[in-house]
């Protein structure tokens, strides 16, 4: 009887099965994407498209090539070259920068890009005062930006700031069209609108964004410079790295990040795939909270620096894809001193220093991490084992990112793991931020280190206009930073990005991490 009852199912099931069977395509046979469209797979989504709000590299990836800036980084280097500014002069006191602008440039909304527009853009940035404006805190305010004539703009800084020129090449310094004010609601200076649109003069513009799904950049038809080879860049949101890896292998995605080192190793050598590798300025280090009674003692900090197995961490956690740091300034950054002392594992020396500090029996310390970051969790385990050998008992404390950040800012931790990347190409990012006593907390001095001599040095290098004298100051800073073992300087990562072999013209710039040069990339047929 039941057979007849389910008779209707007999009709439906074959249809469903047929649909299921008809749907599958053999692996890898998905239609090849057009030659002038780049499909970029990203494991994180963009939060906002407003360059004057966000400080997130993933958002910058989508934003950067929608805008121009006064200056740009030359190719893969950290050297500054003209972009919207054709030339500039710097006053002898290092406080006044005058730029001559390129003529005839227009924003994608048709507004002319002149000195007034540049003034508007920086005024909007500073007035909104979001994270993106943080770079110029205490250095530049709106009154310091003057329109000399339609093609000349002048910046007068409150204090000499040697890295200023380089800071103008960052995403935060993107020139935004005054046209955004047409979309202002409730005095937000067009923020709600610009969060989901672009208003620049760069080689691309935002065509479409379906959040969590895909973001499409299209060639700017009225771009003043060399037209990009790509008609479109489609940034697809693929949160699972394993899926991204598979799509890369099948050729459905042309480029993508971020994959784990294991996955990249597995991809390497697969037909049709290249994995690009180069040193980066992404450093991993440990904060040693100087407000902690133990960690306030130099000898304790030195002992910890001696106890850590740097090579073991690089081998075990980074699979060899990193180089050990030598002081705070990474290799490849002007100012890096390759003669400064480098800690290596020396358990006997560590024990001796602890005894001299008065703790032969050791003590207990917490190590704050965000367990969501696999690298940190792995490092924490090794650090725990290393310090146990010298008598320091480490308790690993895992907190989600927002909580961890709040604890860091309030000095509510003993030791913590951290990453740092420079926003502008200057060793200032690794010195003034890290050691200036007034930057305690998230601002950069996460060890809450206080040393008046260091304060003088890090401020002096900012104001020094003579490059040779600046280098000498950086040497002194690095020497003290290492002797005082302010942080545990672990390693600087090797940056790796996988792409299909047909992707041509990729140029890596260590300052533009996660921001491939979409304007220079093309695809082979």
């Amino acid at each position: 009887m039941a057979v007849r009852v389910f008779g209707w199912m007999r009709a439906v099931v074959p249809v469903v099965v047929a649909a299921l069977l008809a749907a599958p395509l053999p692996a890898g046979s998905a239609q090849a994407t057009p030659q002038d469209v780049l499909i970029f797979g990203s494991t994180s989504d963009v939060e906002t498209m407003d360059p004057q709000v966000t400080v997130d590299n993933i958002a910058w990836r989508a934003i950067y090539y929608c805008y121009d800036r006064l200056v740009q980084l030359k190719g893969g280097t950290t050297e500054v070259a003209p972009q919207l500014a054709e030339s500039w002069t710097i006053s002898p006191d290092g406080k006044t920068f005058t730029f001559r602008l390129r003529r005839g440039v227009k924003f994608t909304d048709g507004t002319p890009l002149d000195a007034k527009a540049v003034q508007f853009s920086f005024t909007r940035l500073l007035k909104m005062g979001k994270g993106a404006a943080g770079l110029w805190d205490g250095i530049l305010d709106a009154s310091g930006i003057t329109v000399v004539n339609p093609t000349t703009i002048r910046f007068t800084l409150k204090t000499p700031f040697a890295p200023f020129l380089g800071s103008l090449a960052t995403d935060q310094a993107s020139i935004v069209s005054p046209g955004v004010m047409k979309h202002e609601t409730g005095g937000d200076m067009g923020q709600a609108w610009l969060a989901g649109n672009s208003a620049g003069s760069g080689p691309f513009r935002l065509k479409e964004w379906r959040r969590g799904e895909r973001l499409v950049l299209e060639r700017n038809p009225i771009y003043w410079g060399r037209k990009p080879a790509l008609r479109q860049v489609i940034i697809r949101n693929i949160p699972d790295p394993a899926v991204l890896r598979d799509l890369l292998e099948r050729g459905e995605v042309d480029m993508g990040e971020t994959l784990t080192d294991d996955q990249l190793d597995a991809l390497k050598g697969k037909p049709g795939i290249t994995v690009f590798e180069a040193p980066s300025f992404l450093v991993t280090y440990l904060y040693l909270n100087n407000k902690n009674p133990y960690l306030s003692k130099v000898k304790v900090r030195q002992a910890i620096s001696y106890a850590i197995d740097y090579a073991g961490i690089i081998r075990g956690v980074k699979k060899g894809r990193a180089v050990q740091m030598r002081g705070p300034i990474p290799q490849g950054m002007a100012g890096h001193d390759k003669t400064v002392f480098q800690y290596t594992r020396n358990v006997a020396r560590a024990r001796q220093l602890l005894a001299e500090a008065g703790y032969p029996q050791g003590f207990e310390l917490g190590l704050l991490i965000d367990p969501g970051i696999r690298e940190w969790a792995d490092i924490a385990t090794i650090v725990q084992a290393n310090l146990a050998e010298v008598g320091i008992k480490v308790k690993i404390e895992g907190f989600a990112r927002p909580t961890m950040r709040a604890k860091l800012d309030k000095a509510d931790f003993d030791m913590a793991t951290g990453f740092w990347t420079p926003d502008y190409p200057d060793a200032d990012m690794f010195t003034w931020f890290w050691f200036y006593s007034k930057n305690g907390g998230l601002a950069g001095n996460r060890s809450f280190y206080v040393n008046p001599q260091m304060d003088r040095l890090v401020v002096a290098q900012r104001q020094e206009t003579d490059p040779a004298k600046r280098l000498a100051l950086f040497r002194q800073i690095q020497k003290i930073a290492v002797e005082d073992a302010v942080y545990v300087y672990l390693h600087q990562a090797i940056y790796r990005i996988p792409m299909r072999e047909r992707v041509q013209g990729y140029v890596y710039n260590p300052m533009l991490l996660f921001m491939p040069n979409f304007n220079g990339i093309s695809k082979r047929p």
Binding site: M1, M9, G134, A192, G212, P402, A406, G444
Partner: protein, 335 residues
């Protein structure tokens, strides 16, 4: 009827207020500060303080709640901290994806759950009953994330038959359209490539979501069918020579459906819950996906907005179910 509706709507308001206050308190007592995230890793104390002021986070909690309620009454869910857009716009953008996924899954649950339950009851303690029990129980017992990953591994990674992520293939443009429901939009635009891609992308997540939500419906249909099938009027119907199919579907099932309806209404809640994991695993850009992103960012306005909208959907579905009782069982009257 009007009286019943008014009472139900009033009750809904009370539930709503409760959800609002609870979510507000829970999300705000979590240690952490969204201003620190907004400000970025290198922000100065002044920048952080300014952002905190802009977001109103420097005010006492009751004031923040009062401000929130005032804005809510004006229909404003606030501005998302993460995306800097009105929360209502973010939700409107992500809602269709979730609606498409959960609605189709609910249809599958009903379409598969009722026949399976009937089959179980009719063939009680025989092979079909055991099989249907295995299907139903395995669905509730297997962890959703594990099953989801397994499906992706088998059908996407190993076999390459079905896509493992998103709503459309890499190279396929989304259909133009107003609804945001790709099935509807692609049919409306006669875009067969998008339709095909949409259907293929729906298969795994819909299977996962309906599979894990199937059990209550199957079990409820089975037990109420067994109860009904033992009644005298069924014997009478059979005795007068009515076709078995009519006995089962017109006489037995209709009466067995009343408790089942409640379970189906409640299972919409299960579906919304399951959508959190399903959307995360399949990178399905729906509300749950947006919710997870917002939570890890401590994006209070977004979290509040999603919770309120989910509560609204859930209570509305259950209201509809209550009204449907009258349709299924004419003896039920609302007053």
């Amino acid at each position: 009827m009007a009286h019943f509706l008014a009472r139900r709507l009033l009750l809904q308001l009370v539930v709503f207020a409760g959800v609002l206050v609870l979510t507000f308190l829970i999300s705000h007592v979590i240690p952490g500060d969204p201003a620190l995230l907004r400000a970025g890793p290198k922000a100065s104390a002044e920048t952080i303080a300014k952002i905190r002021r802009d977001m109103g986070l420097d005010r006492p909690l009751p004031t923040q709640l009062a401000v929130y309620v005032r804005e809510l009454l004006r229909g404003d869910l606030g501005t998302s901290i993460r995306t800097q857009r009105p929360v209502i716009a973010d939700i409107a953008e992500h809602f269709p994806a979730t609606f498409e996924l959960t609605t189709i899954s609910l249809l599958v649950v009903v379409a598969a759950g009722i026949p399976l339950g009937v089959l179980s009851a009719v063939r009680k303690d025989r092979l079909p009953d055991h099989l249907s029990r295995v299907v139903a129980i395995s669905g509730v017992s297997l962890p959703v994330f594990w099953l989801g990953l397994l499906l992706i591994y088998i059908f996407f990674v190993r076999l390459g038959w079905l896509p493992g992520t998103g709503r459309l293939d890499m190279g396929v443009d989304p259909p133009p359209g107003l609804t945001g429901l790709y099935l509807v939009d692609s049919i409306a635009a006669l875009d067969w490539e998008a339709l095909r891609s949409t259907v293929r992308h729906l298969l795994l997540p819909v299977f996962l979501l309906s599979y894990v939500s199937l059990a209550p419906v199957v079990r409820m249909v089975r037990s109420s069918m067994l109860e009904v099938l033992g009644q005298d009027y069924i014997r009478t119907a059979r005795a007068k020579g009515l076709a078995e199919r009519l006995v089962l579907y017109r006489h037995a099932l209709r009466n067995a459906l009343i408790p089942t309806l409640t379970v189906i209404g409640l299972s919409y809640g299960t579906l919304l819950q399951g959508a959190v994991v399903t959307e995360t695993i399949f990178a399905w850009p729906g509300m749950a996906y947006y919710a997870v992103g917002s939570m890890t960012y401590l994006d209070y306005p977004a979290v509040m907005g999603i919770t309120l909208v989910s509560a609204l959907i859930y209570t509305t579905v259950n209201l509809i179910v209550d009204l449907l009782y009258g349709v299924v069982d004419p003896r039920i009257r609302y007053d």
